[in-house]
């Protein structure tokens, strides 16, 4: 709600003037809250950078927080909650986060009805004053700009931002768990999670490489086994996520009720098959994919700027293309299998939503976290 209200008037502009001025410049924009961050992201034509950044500096530093719009903010937030409620593929992941990360870190950034209904203006103002701090804030810019002018601009806009120290993030812990949500839907939606190393871990690219073998492209193992050979699903995918010091692999599959158990079983078998070996073909495809993705990323200033911010947050530096390529080039079939065996899937979390519950094999339920996190493992 603070993020929403900050955009309803700031600096010299009221809510309507902010939207009108940004629209007038054709600025594309989004904003979001995640477990540790509130973020604003914009894309604009080069000429509009200075004025756009000025408006965003006002939102972060000088929001009006108008009392007469708190109710509108609240209604907007409640609408967002309802929209998740109606989308099973989103809802299973909101619930999985809760199962896996518990009461504090597993909270949905969208909140709960009771919480949203109890927020008053003072909560928002206090939250803004206590949390919108320069310490730990990151501004990443990519595209067409002049570095010296940008530095001056940022200096002018943000120099009076307080530098009070932000409290350090607490250690994120995960837990195993299973939850089923009874739902009168056509498909059963299956969200599964297990441990992997986080982004800042020295072996992160090994974990990322394994995900690539598992899920990137049409020759990936999950696509081949679950969809191509058996026709069990339309969508099956896996991705890596890092929350603070904790890495997770998240997988999703949606299938009609009667085939849900088979879909889960095949998904888990396919994940475990990574330990049996990686072929040279799989390795070379994964390298080709990363290489072209890195080169194509340069064609999108938006994705480049978000990558810069991610690097800075987790690594305190920005990796260049060469460095990432060297990491990927150093992967071997042997190193990937070795990594898988060293950090095998543990601490499984499963959320299903649909007409029938699905059962996670007993052996999976009992395995607790191996604590393969950045702060305890080796960081890069």
């Amino acid at each position: 709600m603070t993020l929403d209200l900050a955009q309803r008037g700031a600096g010299d502009r009221n809510s309507r003037q902010i939207v009108e001025d940004l629209d007038f410049m054709g600025v594309e924009r989004s904003s979001s809250c995640s477990t540790f961050h509130t973020s604003f992201s914009v894309a604009c034509v080069a000429d509009a950078l200075s004025e756009t950044l000025g408006i965003y500096a006002d939102m972060v530093l000088r929001p009006h927080m108008p009392e007469d719009e708190v109710e509108e903010s609240r209604q907007t937030a409640l609408q967002e909650l309802l929209s998740i409620e109606d989308d099973p593929s989103q809802k299973v992941f909101t619930q999985l986060k809760n199962v896996r990360y518990g009461a504090q870190f597993g909270r949905s950034p969208y909140g709960l009805v009771e919480g949203l209904e109890s927020v008053v203006l003072k909560d928002i103002v206090d939250y803004h004053q206590g949390r919108y701090l320069s310490d730990g804030a990151i501004l990443a810019v990519a595209g067409k700009f002049d570095w010296e002018s940008l530095k001056n601009l940022v200096e002018n806009l943000f120099s009076d931002w307080n530098s009070r120290e932000n409290s350090p993030s607490e250690l994120v812990l995960v837990q195993a768990g299973v939850r089923h949500l009874q739902h009168d839907s056509s498909q059963t939606h299956i969200a599964l999670a297990y441990d992997c190393v986080p982004y800042q871990h020295v072996e992160f690219y090994q974990s990322r490489g394994l995900i690539s073998v598992l899920s990137d492209g049409m020759s990936s193992r999950l696509f081949t086994e679950v969809r191509e050979k058996r026709g069990l699903v339309y969508t099956v995918s896996a991705s890596c996520q890092t929350i603070g010091n904790q890495g997770s692999v998240l997988t999703y599959a949606g299938t009609t009720g009667a085939r849900a158990q088979e879909t889960l079983d095949v998904t888990i078998e396919t994940i475990m098959s990574l330990g049996d070996g990686i072929s040279e073909g799989e390795l070379s495809r994964l390298k080709a994919r990363v290489k072209s993705a890195l080169i194509m990323e340069q064609e999108s200033s938006s994705s480049r700027s978000s990558q810069i911010a991610t690097d800075w947050y987790y690594l305190r530096r920005v990796q260049n293309r060469k460095e990432v390529l060297a990491e990927i080039e150093s992967l071997t079939c042997g190193s990937l299998v070795e990594h898988f065996l060293k950090y095998p899937p543990r601490c499984w979390g499963l959320v299903t939503m649909g007409p029938e519950p699905v059962v996670l094999p007993d052996a999976m339920v009992s395995v607790k976290s191996s604590m393969v996190n950045g702060s305890r493992g080796e960081t890069r």
């Binding site: 034509v45 081949t224 009609t256 073909g281 072209s292 064609e299």
Partner: protein
């Protein structure tokens, strides 16, 4: 940027927007057949065929196809819509000839019976997936009601019934007729070697023969019913209304799009301020879409069932009745800036240009630079937008609402 255009003897048109500065290249086959070119009993055949294209050719198994796509490091995919079926990939320029070999081979799929059954299940899962996701098929239901017996009423995915009934032999005949070179356009953008592209296409498509297929595009008669459907698991109410707009060949189409942006864009529009900003609705707005012979001006609203009636009344009042609050120059300029800025930002990537350039050629038979497209919007004046508005308010729409209960909207 340099535009290239060449038509082979067999009728295959090849176009490219060459940008030697680009890091990548995008390639696509735009096949001019989609759900609107189907008969109702075979609804979904274009989309089913799109899936089958990836199941192998005379030279390649399905595994070969998937493996080679990934070896190219390609971002590749395909989609089917009402008007066309498009296969595309983004690659590094040094992979052009390999990518062309694969993509062109895909246009001649094996269509094996054994793959047909597995893929049928995948498509039934895809239909089930959309059944579970908002807006729960309300747009498709509204298209059916709006277009009646016209082929634009046919669903892109088909229905569980038509997909279950579809027979491989009928699909083969459909493929033979529609994937003929005179019904396909090969499009390339970015860092492209056009001479090589043409030479290779000539060699690879030497055996392809034209079919003479031509789309039948008869103007529809529009339905005006208001329908309600129940979807018990839903918590929100989803409403669409479709009214006649203009076709993609109509010079008024830019004015229609600007009208929809002023009145119903997702930010800063009249419906945004009235319904979305105050948190009355999750979304509410207006959109314009064009086909060969007709078009749509549509309204949509997503909110709680309890608020649906009052929100809908407000939405209709804003877009239909408040003609006394005429559109200002400022509103029009903002709408133009939004559309034009988005054109510029999306042109950064050859992968985005592929669709803009490909669609303009296959759907309208023209090539436009980014500057041309911008100019098309810049030159629309207020009179043209007001004229579009006047056309719009004389028309009646077809409406569908779907939610947990019936009886929420009069």
């Amino acid at each position: 940027m340099k535009f290239e255009n060449k038509t082979l003897d067999n009728g295959l048109q090849i176009i490219a927007e060459v940008n030697e500065e680009a890091f990548s290249q995008s390639l696509g086959y735009f096949v001019k057949t989609g759900s609107r070119d189907e008969v109702p009993e075979m609804g979904g055949v274009s989309h089913f065929l799109e899936h089958m294209v990836f199941k192998g050719t005379a030279k390649r198994t399905a595994e070969d196809v998937n493996r080679e796509l990934d070896e190219l490091g390609a971002q590749s995919n395909a989609y089917t819509c009402e008007d066309q079926t498009v296969y595309y990939m983004s690659i590094l320029p040094d992979q052009q000839s390999r990518a062309m070999d694969l993509l062109t081979d895909l246009m001649r799929p094996a269509l094996r019976n054994s793959d047909f059954e597995t893929e049928r299940n995948v498509i039934l899962e895809e239909i089930a997936m959309y059944d579970d996701a908002p807006p729960y098929g309300s747009m498709e239901k509204c298209m059916e009601s709006f277009y009646g017996n016209h082929p634009l009423a046919i669903r892109v995915l088909g229905t569980p019934q038509t997909v279950s009934d579809l027979d491989p032999e009928a699909m083969r005949a459909y493929h033979h007729d529609r994937y003929a070179p005179d019904n396909i356009c090969l499009v390339a953008t970015g860092s492209v070697n056009f001479d090589h592209l043409v030479k290779q296409a000539e060699e690879l498509t030497r055996d392809w023969t034209p079919s003479g297929f031509k789309r039948v595009a008869e103007p529809p008669s529009h339905g005006i019913a208001s329908l309600q459907f129940q979807h018990p698991p839903a918590v929100q109410q989803y409403t669409f209304e479709l009214s006649p707009g203009v076709s993609r060949n109509d010079p008024k189409r830019h004015a229609y799009r600007l009208l929809a942006t002023v009145l119903g864009d997702d930010s800063g529009s009249r419906t945004f301020w009235a319904l979305v900003d105050p948190g009355l609705a999750e979304s509410a707005g207006m959109f314009a879409h064009e086909y060969d012979e007709c078009g749509i001006l549509g309204l949509f609203l997503t909110c709680t069932p309890e608020d649906t009636q009052s929100n809908w009344d407000m939405l209709v009042k804003i877009v239909r009745e408040e003609t006394d609050k005429s559109i200002s120059e400022r509103e029009l300029t903002v709408a133009k800036n939004k559309i034009c800025s988005s054109l510029v930002l999306s042109s950064e990537r050859p992968g985005n240009r592929l669709f803009t350039v490909g669609n303009a050629m296959t759907l309208r038979g023209t090539y436009e630079t980014v500057e041309d497209s911008i100019e098309n919007y810049r030159r629309v004046n207020l009179d043209a937008v007001h004229a579009a508005w006047k056309d719009y308010v004389t028309q009646v729409g077809a409406r569908v609402t779907i939610g947990p209960e019936l009886g929420v909207l009069n």
